[in-house]
C-alpha cells in the first residue's frame, strides 16, 4: 500500500522535472540576463532597450494590435458559435472549415495574406478589375502605415479567431439547453436570451479564451514579419532582432521580460474583470 501513495508522485515527476528545467530555469535566466551588464547587475540593458529607436513604435504597435484584434475576435467567435447552434445540416463539415486556421502557423498565415496583399496580389487585381486602382499598388510599406496595420490585423484575425471560437463552442456545449428554453417560455426574445442567459453562463469560457488569445497575441511575431517585414516592429520581433541580428542577448532578454510582464498583467486583468461573482460557483 506504500507504493500506492508514492505512485502518483512517480507519475508526475518526469513532467515536473522537465518543466523545471525548460520553463522555470529559463524564466529565471531571462530575468538574470536582463539585469546583468558588463559592469555587474543593473538596469543598463533596460536603458538601452528604451533608447532603441524602434522601442516606442514596437510598444505602440503591439498594444494597438492586441487591443484591436482580441475584442474583434471575441465578437466574431461569439457570433459564429451562435450561428452554429442554428445550423441543421453539414455541421461537421462547417466545423472543420471554420477551425482549419487553428492548425495554421502564424508564419503561414502571414504568407497567405502576403500573397493576397502584395503589389501584384489578388486584392489589387480585384481593385483593378472594378476600376478602383489603375495598376499595381503597394500597401505594405512604411509609407502606408494605416494599410499595413489593417493588413496585419486582417491576417491575425483570419488565423487566430478559430481558437476563440473552439473554446466558446466547447463552453456552449456545456450549457444545458433547458436554460434557454426556460427563458423563452418566460417570454425572452432571442437577443434577451443571449444577453441574459447564454452570455453570463459562458463567462468562464470567455475568460479562458481571452487569456489564451491575449497572451498569444502579445507573442505575435511571424505573421507581423511576413506581412510587414521591418516596417512594423512589435515587442517580440524586436527581441528576435536583438538576439539574432545584434547578438545582444541582454537587451533581447529585457524585451522578453517586458513581454512576460505584459502577458501576466493582461491575464490578471482578465481574471479579475471576469471573476465569478460572490456566491456563484465557477
Amino acid at each position: 500500500m506504500r507504493g500506492q501513495t508514492l505512485r502518483p508522485y512517480l507519475l508526475i515527476m518526469p513532467s515536473l522535472a522537465f518543466l523545471l528545467l525548460l520553463f522555470f530555469v529559463p524564466l529565471v535566466q531571462t530575468v538574470a540576463l536582463a539585469f546583468s551588464t558588463t559592469t555587474g547587475t543593473g538596469v543598463g540593458n533596460f536603458v538601452q532597450m528604451l533608447d532603441d529607436l524602434d522601442f516606442r513604435d514596437s510598444v505602440r504597435n503591439t498594444f494597438g494590435l492586441v487591443l484591436c484584434v482580441v475584442p474583434l475576435q471575441l465578437l466574431a467567435a461569439l457570433g459564429m458559435s451562435m450561428m452554429l447552434r442554428h445550423v441543421r445540416w453539414g455541421r461537421d463539415i462547417i466545423l472543420w472549415i471554420w477551425t482549419i486556421p487553428l492548425g495554421i502557423s502564424d508564419l503561414a498565415a502571414g504568407l497567405v495574406w502576403l500573397a493576397i496583399l502584395t503589389d501584384k496580389g489578388y486584392l489589387n487585381t480585384i481593385l483593378f478589375e472594378v476600376g478602383v486602382i489603375s495598376g499595381p499598388q503597394s500597401w505594405l510599406t512604411y509609407e502606408t502605415p494605416g494599410a499595413l496595420f489593417l493588413a496585419i490585423l486582417t491576417a491575425e484575425f483570419w488565423r487566430a479567431t478559430a481558437i476563440v471560437f473552439v473554446v466558446l463552442v466547447a463552453g456552449v456545449q456545456l450549457i444545458p439547453r433547458e436554460y434557454e428554453e426556460a427563458a423563452s417560455v418566460f417570454g425572452a426574445t432571442a437577443w434577451q436570451r443571449f444577453r441574459r442567459v447564454t452570455l453570463p453562463l459562458l463567462r468562464p469560457s470567455i475568460q479562458t479564451a481571452l487569456i489564451l488569445r491575449t497572451v498569444l497575441a502579445f507573442e505575435a511575431f511571424a505573421v507581423v514579419l511576413a506581412v510587414g517585414g521591418r516596417n512594423f516592429p512589435v515587442l517580440v520581433s524586436q527581441a528576435y532582432l536583438w538576439q539574432f541580428t545584434n547578438q545582444n542577448y541582454n537587451v533581447a532578454a529585457c524585451y522578453a521580460v517586458l513581454v512576460t510582464l505584459v502577458s501576466l498583467a493582461a491575464t490578471l486583468v482578465i481574471l479579475i474583470a471576469l471573476r465569478p461573482r460572490a456566491g456563484e460557483s465557477a
Binding site: 518526469p14 518543466l19 487585381t125 473554446v167 466547447a170
Partner: protein
C-alpha cells in the same frame, strides 16, 4: 419571415467558409503556379498550368525539402516526449487524490499566462553550452515545453472519462494494475491519445520563434521560411507556406471530433 432568416443564416455560414478557404486557395495558386503566376498582372484566379513535379523539384533546390524533413523530425520527437512525460502525469491527476495535486494542476495552468516561446532566448545560451544548439533535439525539447502542459491536461481529462469502475472490474476479474491499464484503459484511451499526439505535432510544426532562435544552419521549415522572407523570391515563400499549411489542414480534419472535447477540457 422564418424563410428569410434561414437564408440570412445560410449565406452568413457560407461567407465565413469562403473567408477561411479562399485565402488558402490563393496561396496554393501562388505556390504551385511558379514564377510565371507570381509576376502575372492582373492575377488569374484560375491555375494556368499546374505541375507538382516543378513544385517539388523547386523545393529541393531551395533547401525547403530538407528543412521540412527536419521539421517532421522535431515534431515527431516533440510528440513522443510530450506523451511520454505528459500522459503519466495526466493519469496521476485523473486517478489519484494526492497531496499537491491541485498545486501541480495550478502550475500547469499557470504556464498559459506566460509567453513560453520567448524562453527560447536564454535557452539558446544554455543549449550552446550543452552542445544541443542548432540540433533537432534542442528544438524538440523547447517545443515539448510548449506542448507538455496541454498534453497533461488533455490526457487527464481523457483518463477521467474512462470510468474507474472499468479498471476495478479488470482487477476483480484477475488483472494486475499494469495488466488492467494495458487491457482496458489503453484500448479506450488510444483515440484520444492519438488526437493529443497530433496536437503536439501541430504545435511543434507551426512554431516559429523558438525554432528560429535555436537554429542557424539546421533550420526547420518555419525557421527557414522566416529567413527566406527577406532573401528568397515570393514563389519560394508561398510554396513553403503551402507546404506548411497542408499537413495542418489534414490534421485538423482527423482530430475534428476531439477538437471541442480537448479545448473544452483545456479551458477549465
Amino acid at each position: 419571415m422564418i424563410g428569410s432568416r434561414r437564408v440570412l443564416l445560410i449565406s452568413g455560414v457560407l461567407m465565413i467558409c469562403a473567408w477561411t478557404l479562399v485565402p488558402i486557395y490563393l496561396v496554393a495558386l501562388g505556390g504551385v503556379g511558379g514564377a510565371s503566376t507570381i509576376y502575372a498582372w492582373p492575377k488569374p484566379f484560375w491555375p494556368a498550368s499546374l505541375s507538382i513535379g516543378n513544385f517539388t523539384a523547386f523545393l529541393q533546390i531551395e533547401g525547403i525539402w530538407a528543412a521540412m524533413l527536419r521539421s517532421v523530425e522535431v515534431a515527431v520527437l516533440c510528440m513522443i516526449l510530450s506523451l511520454l512525460l505528459g500522459a503519466p502525469a495526466g493519469y496521476a491527476l485523473a486517478r489519484f487524490a494526492f497531496r499537491g495535486a491541485n498545486l501541480y494542476r495550478l502550475m500547469i495552468l499557470m504556464t498559459r499566462a506566460f509567453p513560453v516561446g520567448i524562453l527560447a532566448l536564454p535557452l539558446a545560451v544554455s543549449f550552446v553550452r550543452l552542445g544541443i544548439y542548432d540540433t533537432v533535439f534542442g528544438v524538440a525539447l523547447m517545443h515539448t515545453a510548449l506542448a507538455l502542459p496541454f498534453a497533461v491536461l488533455v490526457t487527464a481529462s481523457l483518463f477521467v472519462g474512462i470510468p474507474r469502475e472499468l479498471e476495478e472490474a479488470a482487477w476483480v476479474f484477475g488483472c494486475s494494475g499494469p495488466g488492467a491499464f494495458r487491457r482496458v484503459v489503453m484500448p479506450l484511451a488510444i483515440p484520444g491519445i492519438a488526437a493529443t499526439a497530433i496536437f503536439a505535432f501541430v504545435i511543434s510544426w507551426n512554431e516559429v520563434f523558438a525554432a528560429s532562435v535555436l537554429t542557424v544552419r539546421n533550420k526547420t521549415l518555419t525557421a527557414d521560411l522566416l529567413t527566406l522572407l527577406s532573401e528568397a523570391p515570393l514563389q519560394s515563400q508561398l510554396a513553403g507556406g503551402l507546404l506548411l499549411i497542408l499537413p495542418s489542414v489534414l490534421f485538423i480534419f482527423f482530430v475534428r471530433r476531439y477538437l471541442f472535447a480537448l479545448w473544452g477540457v483545456a479551458s477549465r
